[in-house]
C-alpha cells in the first residue's frame, strides 16, 4: 500500500531524515514511535505530498507521491500534529468545508465517522476553537476521514492528551482498521506501540528497528531485572556503579536494570543493603526498555 524508499531530508545543516525505508501493507495499523525531533513530521509531510524529499521515493498504491500527487491527495487523509482546523468555524462548518473541498458531502460518508460524530453532535454549533482537547482531536479525525480515504496519516494524535482520551482514540482507530482503512500513526508514547500491527522505532531521523511489537521486544538480548525498594534514588545510584550492570532506569514504582543473566543482582543488593526490603524479579522487556537500549547503542 505504501512504500518508502531511502528517503532523506535536510534543513540546512540539520539532517531530519536519513535514508528511511519501510513498507505498510493494506489494512495495516502501522506505528512510527519516537520522541519530538525524531523526524516523524517531516516524513508525514513527504508522504502527504506537502514536502519534497532531498532524495528517495515514496509510492502510495502504486502512485508516486511527487508526480501523481493529485491521486495521493484524493485518497489519503492527513491529520497534522498541530490542530489545523478553522478555529472560528463551528464543528458543522468545518466538516462541511472539508467535505466540499473533496467534492463530497458529510451525508455521503457519514457511516465512517458515525461513532465519533455522535459524540460531537451536541457541540455542532460550537466554534472549533472553543472545544476541549479531546473533542478537537475527534473533530480533526472526522475531517481527515470525510472524503473516505483508503489511508490515514495521523501525526501524534494523542500528544498532550490525557490517559482516558488516549484510550478512546485508540479504540476509534481499531474500528477504522476494521473498515479496511490503512493507518500510519506516530506517537511519542511508547506504550501505544502495543496497539499497532507493526512499528518502526525512529530516532534522529533513522529507523532503529522495525517489526511487530512482540518481534521487537523478543530480539532484546539483555536480561531485565525489575527492582523494587524503598529509597529508589539511592538504590539507582548504587546499582549504576555495580560491575556488569549495563544500564539502569526508573520505571514508575520500580527500577529496570539491564545486564547479563549471571548478574546475581538480588544477592549483591542484599549484601549492600542488608536491612532494606528489596525485591528483584526478572521480567520480559517492553518497548520502552528496547527503545532506550537502542538509543544508547546508537550513540556509542
Amino acid at each position: 500500500m505504501l512504500t518508502v524508499s531511502n528517503i532523506s531530508k535536510s534543513y540546512g545543516e540539520v539532517r531530519a531524515l536519513n535514508g528511511i525505508n519501510f513498507e505498510v501493507d493494506r489494512g495495516e495499523l502501522f506505528g512510527l514511535i519516537g520522541p519530538d525531533g525524531a523526524g516523524k513530521t517531516s516524513l508525514f509531510r513527504i508522504i502527504a505530498t506537502l514536502l519534497l524529499p532531498d532524495s528517495g521515493d515514496v509510492s502510495f498504491d502504486g502512485h508516486d507521491v511527487i508526480t501523481d500527487y493529485e491521486f495521493v491527495r484524493k485518497n489519503v487523509g492527513y491529520m497534522p500534529g498541530r490542530f489545523s482546523l478553522y478555529q472560528d468555524l463551528s464543528v458543522k462548518e468545518n466538516l462541511e468545508f472539508f467535505a466540499t473541498i473533496f467534492n463530497t458531502t458529510v451525508q455521503e460518508n457519514k457511516h465512517l465517522i458515525e461513532d465519533i460524530f455522535k459524540q460531537l453532535e451536541p457541540f455542532q454549533n460550537r466554534r472549533a476553537g472553543d472545544l476541549s482537547g479531546g473533542m478537537k482531536q475527534k473533530l480533526a479525525l472526522s475531517c481527515a476521514l470525510i472524503h473516505k480515504p483508503t489511508m490515514l496519516l495521523l501525526d501524534e494524535p494523542t500528544t498532550g492528551v490525557d490517559a482516558i482520551s488516549r484510550k478512546e482514540f485508540w479504540g476509534m482507530l481499531q474500528r477504522l482498521k476494521k473498515e479496511g482503512i490503512t493507518i500510519v500513526v506516530s506517537t511519542p508514547y511508547m506504550d501505544e506501540s502495543k496497539l499497532c500491527d507493526r512499528v518502526a522505532l525512529i530516532q534522529d531521523g533513522a529507523i532503529m528497528d522495525l517489526d511487530t511489537p512482540s518481534g521487537i521486544v523478543n530480539r532484546f538480548d539483555k536480561t531485565v531485572y525489575k527492582v523494587t525498594g524503598n529509597n529508589q534514588y539511592q538504590l539507582l545510584s548504587k546499582i549504576r556503579t555495580m560491575d556488569g550492570v549495563q544500564n539502569a532506569y526508573p520505571f514508575g514504582s520500580s527500577l529496570h536494570v539491564y545486564g547479563s543473566p549471571e548478574l546475581n543482582l538480588s544477592g549483591r543488593l542484599d549484601e549492600h543493603f542488608p536491612d532494606a526490603d528489596i525485591q528483584v524479579e526478572i521480567i520480559p522487556a517492553d518497548i520502552e526498555d528496547t527503545f532506550m537500549n537502542l538509543m544508547t547503542r546508537d550513540h556509542e
Binding site: G34, P35, G134, E156, D162, A163, P188, F251, G252, S253
Partner: protein, 242 residues
C-alpha cells in the same frame, strides 16, 4: 511552617463555569507533588491562582507562607515556573536566556555567572552556550528550562507538563533533576500525562471536572483502588465520575 503550599476551598469561576471547585490540599516543604487530571479538569487554572497570575473567586491559599491575595507579587519571587509551551526565548542563545532570567529574578552578575556556569556544566551544555535555543533538541531545551526556572533557588518550582514529547531517556534524566532539586529542599509541583511518572512523586492528586477527587501517596491510592498502576487508578477514578 512546614507547608510549601496550602489551599482551602480554592475556587475559580468563569461566568457559570466552575473551573476549579473548592479544592483543599497542602504540599509539604521538599515534597515532589504530582498534580494530575484529564484535559480541562482545571489544573492550569489552579496553577495560575497559586502562582499569582489569576485571582481566585473564593477560598484561601498560601504559597511559601504568603497569602495569594495580598502577596501575589512576593510569591512570584519565591517560585520558579516552567511550562511545556513557553519557557525560553527561542531566538536568544543559551547564555542569553540564563542572563535574562537571572536578571529578572534579581541575581547579581557574579551569581548568574557562577550558577549559570555550574548548570551548563551539569547539563553538559557548555559547548552550546552560544547556540540559539531554537537549534537545540526538545529534551535539551526542557532540561535547560528547568535549570533556568531554579537558578534563583526558589522554595517551590511549578512544572506544567515538562516532559511531553521528550524521548524516554531524557524524560528520566529530567526526573533525576527533579529528585536532585527535591534533595536540595526545593518543593516540586508537577503535572504530567505520563502515568508512570506519577509514581515518582511523594504524593499525587487527581482532579476531575474542577474537583480534587483524590490526594495521597501513589502506593496508598493503588491499594485503595485495588489497582496495579497509577494509570489504572486514574482511569477508574475519572471514569466513575462520568
Amino acid at each position: 511552617m512546614n507547608k510549601a503550599i496550602t489551599a482551602n476551598k480554592l475556587t475559580k469561576k468563569f461566568g457559570n463555569f466552575i473551573a476549579t471547585n473548592a479544592i483543599t490540599f497542602d504540599v509539604d516543604k521538599g515534597e515532589v507533588f504530582g498534580f494530575l487530571g484529564a484535559n480541562g479538569a482545571g489544573k492550569t487554572t489552579a496553577i495560575k491562582m497559586l502562582t499569582g497570575l489569576s485571582r481566585p473567586t473564593s477560598g484561601e491559599a498560601t504559597v511559601a507562607g504568603l497569602d495569594i491575595y495580598r502577596h501575589a507579587e512576593q510569591i512570584k519571587q519565591q517560585i520558579g515556573y516552567m511550562s511545556q509551551k513557553f519557557s525560553l526565548y527561542e531566538d536568544m542563545t543559551v547564555s542569553e536566556n540564563i542572563e535574562f532570567y537571572g536578571g529578572i529574578y534579581g541575581l547579581k552578575r557574579s551569581e548568574i555567572r557562577e550558577r549559570g556556569g555550574k548548570s551548563l556544566d551539569q547539563l553538559s551544555m557548555t559547548n552550546v552556550r552560544n547556540h540559539k535555543v531554537n537549534s537545540l533538541p526538545l529534551g535539551w531545551k526542557q532540561k535547560l528550562a528547568f535549570a533556568v526556572a531554579t537558578l534563583h533557588k526558589p522554595g517551590i518550582v511549578f512544572l506544567d507538563e515538562p516532559t511531553g514529547g521528550v524521548d524516554p531517556i531524557t524524560r528520566r534524566q529530567f526526573w533525576e533533576m527533579i529528585y536532585q532539586a527535591a534533595e536540595e529542599g526545593i518543593t516540586v509541583f508537577v503535572t504530567t500525562h505520563y502515568m508512570d511518572e506519577a509514581e515518582y512523586c511523594n504524593r499525587i492528586s487527581i482532579m476531575v471536572e474542577g474537583l480534587m477527587v483524590a490526594c495521597d501517596s501513589p502506593a496508598a491510592l493503588k491499594s485503595l483502588h485495588n489497582a496495579s498502576s497509577i494509570e489504572e487508578v486514574f482511569i477508574k477514578i475519572a471514569r466513575n465520575k462520568e
